[in-house]
Symmetry: C2
Subunit: 321 residues, 2 copies
């Protein structure tokens, strides 16, 4: 009886694995180590209940071979499917990236779950499935769903495939629509970008856009806690939840200032124009999390607290200080 | 300056091609002839403004070669992407079918449109993207979108990919969410099924389910008219419309009785139990078409009229009478 995590060597995967191991579960994970890293597994790699393999989940033959083997050794009872592209601009430049790493990994996971009779999937979806709705507050039942990035499009495509699989071979599915998640080990994202820019040019930080973009941020510890809470508590066959900060979020300017205060107090901040950072970026976003709150879960850290904590953690990762 | 139709040898593709040719457009079409048929192109195949090639659009190399060639001969200014799996139960038995024939054909079409700088796509989406919402009336902005068939899932995935492409390389996209469309050349569907069953066992017609399933039906002539109207009239960069009957639809029982009256008046009707015909079938469906009505289009035929006309047409196709 084991839990299987895809993308286990990624930012969220390794945090989830640690937490499941701490709860006494047997955990196996695959990762292609394209965006994830073995370093992220250092703390858990010697845990007796943890096993890891390098597998490219977009390659159905390799994936089938490895998962059938794993399932023979220790029957898998649920899949936490986190493997995905996490780089939105990369997916705009080349749509194959999200297609392969987000959509095909999901499609293949469902094919193998059907073959092996694994009944439960938990999936890392995204607020990006909604697209750009301006100031309109978005709950889980809001439509239309018109994503503006291939990242969001392939997350929605994956949700759709899981939804259909619920009608045929799955017993239960959990769709977690993530907001911006921060913490360590950071692999990408605005805080890390700012720190790396400041390392290149210590006196100045160029910010894409005018700094007014506002988004909610959730710390990864809260995210993992929320996912496990939903997995234990929700009772629908197909449960889908926004997970996020319950506040209105923080601006890019706030993040830039927090990073500067922590790692380069003397630097000047230079802002660009407009409130879009890149093609496919949703400038402002009001994300309702009442459904999850009604289920009984609320984040411990608000967006500002999450940013401040993550800035400290990522500074330690990037600068060792 | 030509219009390119994928799935041109299918039920809707050949009707669309005829209509565009009648309007004086230059039309080129590809089809893999898997569900479509050359017979459907008999009337237009000798038209000087029409050309046709057998191409499997899920094979990107073959598709690229053929579309680049076509575009060199006669620049393509818009794509009408109708190629798709149309057999819902087949896609439930094997998810690869909708993945390959609906999703990959769309993904590949977008890749090639980007390569060639073709700016406009019109896409045959489906009411199946919504999933099962019981009696709740569904407009274009209704959520959540949780399809219950791979057919609906891969239509939604295709919509999502097109939506994201609108943010990068497309100038305009039109998503047409089809209801049940009837008429000739029929390739599948309840009317044809009933007629073929009656040919096998002339005295009796077994109906899946209790006959209470109710859906709206649109005649293919109305569908083509609606699509062309939206293409000419809608002004959003991404236009998405439900197309359907404006009435509440008809029951399976009504269809069975109409078929019987036309082709086998002596036959008895035997109904099953429950109101679902097969896994992935949405039993009842209230589909709002006010958005299209406000744009200025309404169907000429209601669901009952459409069924009666299609029964006559399909009887002629199936029985030559």
């Amino acid at each position: 009886m084991s839990v299987f995590i895809t993308g286990v060597a990624g930012f969220i995967g390794c945090n989830l694995a640690s937490e499941l191991l701490a709860k006494g579960r047997i955990v196996a994970g695959f990762d292609n180590l394209c965006r994830g890293s073995r370093v992220n597994l250092t703390e858990i790699s010697s845990h007796p209940n943890f096993s890891f393999e390098v597998v490219d989940l977009s390659d159905i033959d390799a994936y089938r071979h490895a998962l059938h083997d794993l399932h023979r050794r220790q029957p898998v009872t649920e899949v936490w499917h986190l493997a995905a592209n996490s780089d939105i601009p990369a997916g705009t430049a080349d749509p194959h990236i999200d297609y392969r790493d987000t959509f095909m990994t999901t499609f293949n996971t469902l094919v193998l779950m059907r073959e092996l009779g694994i009944p439960v999937i938990a999936f890392a979806s995204s607020s990006a499935i909604y697209g750009d709705h301006g100031d309109r507050p978005l709950n889980e039942d809001s439509g239309p769903l018109l994503p503006i990035s291939n990242y969001g499009a392939m997350k929605l495509a994956a949700e759709a495939a899981i939804s259909a699989a619920c009608e045929s071979h799955l017993e239960a599915a959990y769709l977690f629509r993530f907001p911006n998640v921060i913490g360590v080990p950071a692999t990408h994202g605005v805080i890390q970008d700012f720190m790396r820019k400041l390392r290149e040019t210590p006196g100045n930080l160029d910010v894409l856009g005018d700094g007014s973009q506002q988004k909610g941020y959730l710390h990864v510890t809260d995210l993992v806690d929320a996912m496990l809470f939903i997995r234990e508590t929700a009772t629908d066959k197909l449960s889908y939840f926004n997970i996020g900060a319950s506040d209105k979020g923080v601006t890019v300017r706030y993040i830039a200032e927090t990073v500067r205060a922590h790692v380069a107090p003397e630097a000047t901040l230079s802002f660009g124009q407009g409130n879009k950072g890149w093609v496919g970026d949703v400038p402002k976003f009001t994300y309702l999390t009442e459904k999850l709150s009604l289920l009984g879960w609320n984040p411990r850290l608000g967006s500002e607290q999450a940013i401040r904590r993550a800035v400290k953690e990522i500074a330690r990762q990037e600068f060792g200080s």
